[in-house]
Symmetry: C2
Subunit: 122 residues, 2 copies
DNA sequence: TTCAATACGGATAAATTTATCCCTGTACTT
DNA sequence: AAGTACAGGGATAAATTTATCCGTATTGAA
């Protein structure tokens, strides 16, 4: 896969949770799966900004970390459904709060994020 | 600073919050500052795994994003104190929940994280 | 006068994460 | 026979984030 060179921090709860949810699309995936969007193709339609490849990678990581699991139906064409494990379910309320906080402060956040694009003034 | 080439997603609340708190040490900094650890040197002592340089960078970003602000005392040797803005304060409860979740599930999380170091079995 | 404490940031290398492109396979439809 | 839907992953380039190293500045203490 990829041989890690730097040590992974696991001192405190913040270190640990960061390791499993700080991927570009992980909280989105957890959110949509919690909403019943379970198939890869559907998830991709709901997150069009992400490429299918990256979603697969992040889904695999969530699966490795046991936040989600998947059901592979033995049929053709293939059908797969992701679902949350108990651990995954337990984090959904926090994911919802994260999204809520972002929505509640979207005006402010969009403003500060836009500033980043502005080149430092002469 | 660094000229961004890929567009920043800002469709939903999850996109937005990711932009401001998904740095390696940002949630730690918010947590410690909320606990009254306000000076750079103290923050560094509390997060020894991080280099001083990175903490400065992340503190600057938190400041740019207006989650924290700082008070620079005009004295020698220098004295600086960071504090949370109202927006910063509003996110602290979520940061605490993140840490709590990580602590509550530390056994599980340490286990799955360790698996990553194991090379794929022959 | 040399060192410690305090805070800050440039420059560059290294590591990690994302983005892109492309290919595999089966069953059904046209 | 060729195209579509479905899910998955290899290989590699590009982007972004972190790590490292080092230099600036001032006051007081040893």
């Amino acid at each position: 896969m990829y041989e890690r060179k730097l040590p992974i921090q696991e001192e405190c709860g913040l270190d640990l949770i960061r390791e499993v949810v700080f991927g570009k699309w992980k909280i989105h995936l957890l959110y949509y799966i919690s909403q019943g969007i379970s198939r890869p193709g559907q998830l991709q339609k709901n997150i069009p900004e992400a490429s299918r490849r990256v979603l697969n990678i992040q889904l695999n990581q969530l699966e490795d970390d046991e936040l989600v699991a998947k059901m592979v139906y033995d049929q053709q064409p293939p059908k797969v459904e992701y679902y949350l494990t108990d651990l995954g379910k337990s984090i959904v309320p926090i994911v919802n709060e994260l999204g809520q906080w972002g929505d509640n402060n979207s005006e402010h956040l969009r403003r500060v994020i836009k500033k980043r694009l502005v080149l430092p003034e002469a």
